[in-house]
């Protein structure tokens, strides 16, 4: 048992779940405490002692089911499902099985040859035999030459051959055709045919599961254990769907980390200078002896933020993560307003108030607020911002513009940025393009740069993190 649990822990680790040796020891002593537990209790115990993050739960469930004789359970499950599908209660099903048994006996008397062992086990729901035969087949497939590193499909095929699946199918289909000849009436024959079809499907399913179990054991797929680092350096331009999903998680985690750092720094900064007045007043209760020294509490100086995100195709990913970042850290700011633009400017602050972050981002990028399929026109968008939303900016506001400044040779209207800079605390421009390409072609970066306090290249998660980090602490 112990060896099995430790192997299970190792398997989980290979799938990216962090389990310390202390935790696997815990699980062992916990299991000892429960005496001779059922499979379900073992599962509960292992879950409680090994899995400490809700995110790891699905992995655990999956691997546990695969690792701890899911085969037996699967076989039992399929019996129940078959009963349900063929119709009626378990009692009816039982009767049907008895009828089948009689037919089989008659068949043997008439034709003299018996069905193969597996086919019989399959029809009679002899779960023990089925499980044993599948296991044997898996084992010999494992021992066989060149079987290591096989794909699930290939292995399933090999298992099918081992079990002589083809013959079983022929046998049972033959039986299916002979039902009436053997003396079954129409309704029963139809039901039995359905039953046989189902059981064949079940067998195929079981073989597939056995193959999956085997391949999972052999080749684990580590779930983003080390992936974060490489992901963090990857340019936003080249993300795949899957990477975007992972990136979302990464951003959440980074935001979390940043929050911790900030909370520590703020807690340290909370103590201000010695406050004589309050110390005297507070310590009158101790007879004027200054037991409890009072300090000035520094006012929390939480920045206000206005984000202008270009959401045209070329920079959409960056905008997505920037928005996610800003909103994950929302409670560090006193106010966040966000706008998105392509050639029009639209406010999405409300979307973020009403929806969960990721959903709000999806909504804003989908084109409900502004037309996201237009050609970028920074000048036009800026002008409408100047007209409608300039009041959003005051001297405590940090304005973040996120965009590549590729203006399709339209008017730049950089005077908007000048006005904004005059009113705001600072203007930060984040450009997801490589610095060397700024100002070339239709890039208006040079014009805009003149009215920004900070201009940063922001092409991957690490750069984004650094920017946000500075932003929170400034």
């Amino acid at each position: 048992m112990e060896a099995r649990i430790l192997e299970f822990a190792a398997l989980l680790r290979r799938h990216g779940v962090r389990i310390s040796p202390a935790e696997s020891l815990d699980s062992l002593s916990a299991l000892q405490g429960t005496g001779l537990p059922s499979r379900a209790i073992v599962k509960d115990v292992l879950r409680a002692t090994m899995i400490k993050r809700a995110a790891d739960l699905p992995t655990f469930e999956e691997i546990f089911d695969l690792y701890f004789s899911a085969l037996g359970d699967a076989i039992r499950d399929s019996t129940e499902q078959a009963a349900e599908a063929v119709g009626g209660s378990l009692a009816d099903y039982q009767k049907l099985l008895e009828q089948l048994e009689e037919l089989l006996k008659r068949r043997q008397e008439e034709q003299g040859n018996e069905l193969s062992e597996i086919a019989r086990a399959l029809l009679r729901h002899d779960d023990g035999t089925l499980e044993r035969r599948i296991r044997e087949a898996t084992e010999s497939a494992r021992a066989g030459p060149g079987q290591r590193g096989k794909q699930e499909g290939q292995l399933g095929h090999a298992l099918g051959e081992q079990l002589r699946l083809g013959e079983i199918v022929r046998e049972l289909e033959g039986l299916s055709d002979q039902l009436e000849d053997l003396g079954a009436d129409g309704a029963t024959a139809a039901k039995l045919r359905e039953l046989i079809k189902r059981r064949l499907a079940d067998l195929a399913d079981l073989i597939k599961r056995a193959a999956r179990l085997e391949t999972t054991r052999e080749n684990p797929q580590p779930r983003d254990a080390t992936g974060l680092e490489t992901l963090a350096e990857k340019s936003f331009y080249y993300l795949t769907e899957d990477e975007i999903r992972k990136m979302k998680e990464a951003v959440t985690r980074l935001a979390q980390r940043l929050k911790h750092v900030v909370s520590i720094k703020r807690a340290r900064a909370k103590r201000g200078t010695f406050d004589l007045q309050r110390t005297l007043r507070h310590n009158t209760q101790f007879g004027g002896i200054p037991f409890d020294v009072q300090f000035d509490r520094r006012k929390k100086n939480r920045p206000q933020i206005v984000v202008l995100c270009d959401v045209s195709d070329s920079v959409r990913n960056v905008s997505r993560f920037m928005l996610q970042f800003v909103y994950s850290l929302q409670d560090l700011y006193s106010k966040v307003r966000s706008f998105i633009f392509v050639s029009d400017m639209g406010e999405v602050t409300k979307l973020f108030e009403e929806h969960e972050i990721n959903q709000a981002i999806d909504l804003s990028l989908r084109g409900d607020v502004i037309n996201v399929f237009a050609h970028s026109d920074f000048g036009r968008a800026f002008k409408s911002f100047h007209r409608d939303h300039l009041a959003a900016i005051n001297r405590r506001t940090t304005v973040i513009v996120l965009g590549d400044a590729r203006n399709n040779y339209n008017l730049a209207h950089e005077w908007v940025l000048r006005d904004v800079q005059r009113k705001a605390k600072q203007v930060i421009w984040l450009n997801p393009e490589n610095k060397t390409t700024w100002g070339f072609g239709d890039s208006e970066m040079d014009r805009y740069m003149a009215f920004c306090d900070v201009v940063e290249e922001c092409r991957n998660l690490n750069q984004l993190y650094r920017v946000v980090d500075r932003l929170v602490l400034s």
């Binding site: 815990d26 209790i41 409680a48 002692t49 809700a54 911790h260 807690a267 009403e354 959903q359």
Partner: protein, 322 residues
């Protein structure tokens, strides 16, 4: 002490707390192994209640430490009672004079005083906060550290020491070792990730929204005055509403509140107009209420249709006839 996992389930049911087997397993293990339980899950699924029920079942006192941002050792562990110390020195001035009588030099006086200084930094002047209370208690206790995710990282690190060794060191008094290892329950709403170090020392329990059957059982137990049919409807609606995209999905405590409210108002079916006004008991946001109203209307319509096909007279129709 719980003897088996089933025993936990039974005792909990006796305390009107319906729990799944996985919850019972973890509680059983925690009491056997002396390990803290870290409970995570959405708000209102009975995380805090779990600790209370455990304390009632075991007959142990429950000591609760509510965490918040800025919680520090002085509020969680102990504090010296400066005021009392001062007061005592004032009152005992004469006595101190007596003690010092006959000392010739300043050095001698200090020696004499320092021989006595243990008096002022003794357990008499210490103000135990929940953690120290839990450790020094004569009787075994259940310690509930509520919403650990709301506290600062520093506090979490400090808690680690206590949870692993069950001892604290007070510089003036030395190390205080727990007489009994308390059963510790930590709860977290996941507003931030609790550190791995803390998690590693705990048994982890994730409580999610209950299944439909489970929730119905809970309602029947906790709000017996509600009619069975209505209870079933309430649970059905809540379960389907949870699947909607809400800002704050209703949890068990809200379901219970709603059931209680409906029972108070003598509501018999969810089709009634009155029900709309009670929705605020389960939804905390205006937008959510609106979404739920649509869902409720659909539900009522479905039910009406079902009632009609089953040939039962619809109460609403009857009203029209009168």
């Amino acid at each position: 002490m719980f003897s088996t996992i089933d025993d936990v389930v039974q005792q909990f049911t006796g305390q009107k707390y319906i729990c799944s087997r996985s919850i019972a397993t973890v509680v059983y293990l925690a009491s056997k192994m002396g390990k803290p339980i870290l409970v995570e899950g959405p708000a209102g699924v009975g995380k805090t209640e779990l600790a209370k029920v455990v304390s009632r079942c075991l007959g142990h006192e429950l000591i609760r430490l509510q965490c918040y941002e800025g919680l520090d050792e002085a509020k969680a562990l102990y504090e010296w009672e400066y005021g009392k110390q001062l007061l005592y020195t004032q009152i005992l001035k004469d006595k101190i004079g007596e003690v010092l009588a006959g000392t010739g030099t300043l050095h001698e006086a200090i020696e004499r005083i320092s021989a006595q200084d243990g008096v002022f930094f003794s357990e008499r002047f210490i103000l135990p906060r929940p953690l120290l209370k839990a450790i020094t208690s004569e009787q075994p206790v259940v310690l509930l550290v509520d919403e650990i995710d709301k506290s600062d990282n520093e506090f979490e690190a400090f808690l680690l020491e206590i949870l692993s060794d069950f001892q604290v060191s007070v510089p003036e008094l030395g190390t205080i070792v727990a007489r009994h290892i308390p059963l510790v329950v930590l709860t977290s709403n996941n507003s931030r990730e609790v550190s791995d170090a803390l998690k590693r020392r705990c048994l982890h329990l994730f409580i999610d929204y209950p299944s439909q059957a489970h929730e119905l059982e809970i309602i029947k137990l906790k709000v017996p005055e509600v009619a069975d049919a209505l209870a079933a409807d309430v649970v059905a609606v809540v379960q389907s509403v949870r699947k909607l995209d809400l800002k704050k999905a209703p949890s068990i405590s809200e379901t219970l509140d709603w059931a209680r409210a409906l029972a108070l108002l003598n509501v018999e079916s969810l089709g009634e107009e009155l029900v709309n006004d009670t929705l605020t008991t389960i939804f905390k946001y205006e937008g959510d209420v609106r979404k739920a109203q649509t869902e409720l209307r659909d539900f009522a319509a479905r039910q009406k249709a079902r009632a009609r096909t089953e040939g039962q007279p619809d109460p609403a129709d009857k009203d029209v006839l009168h």
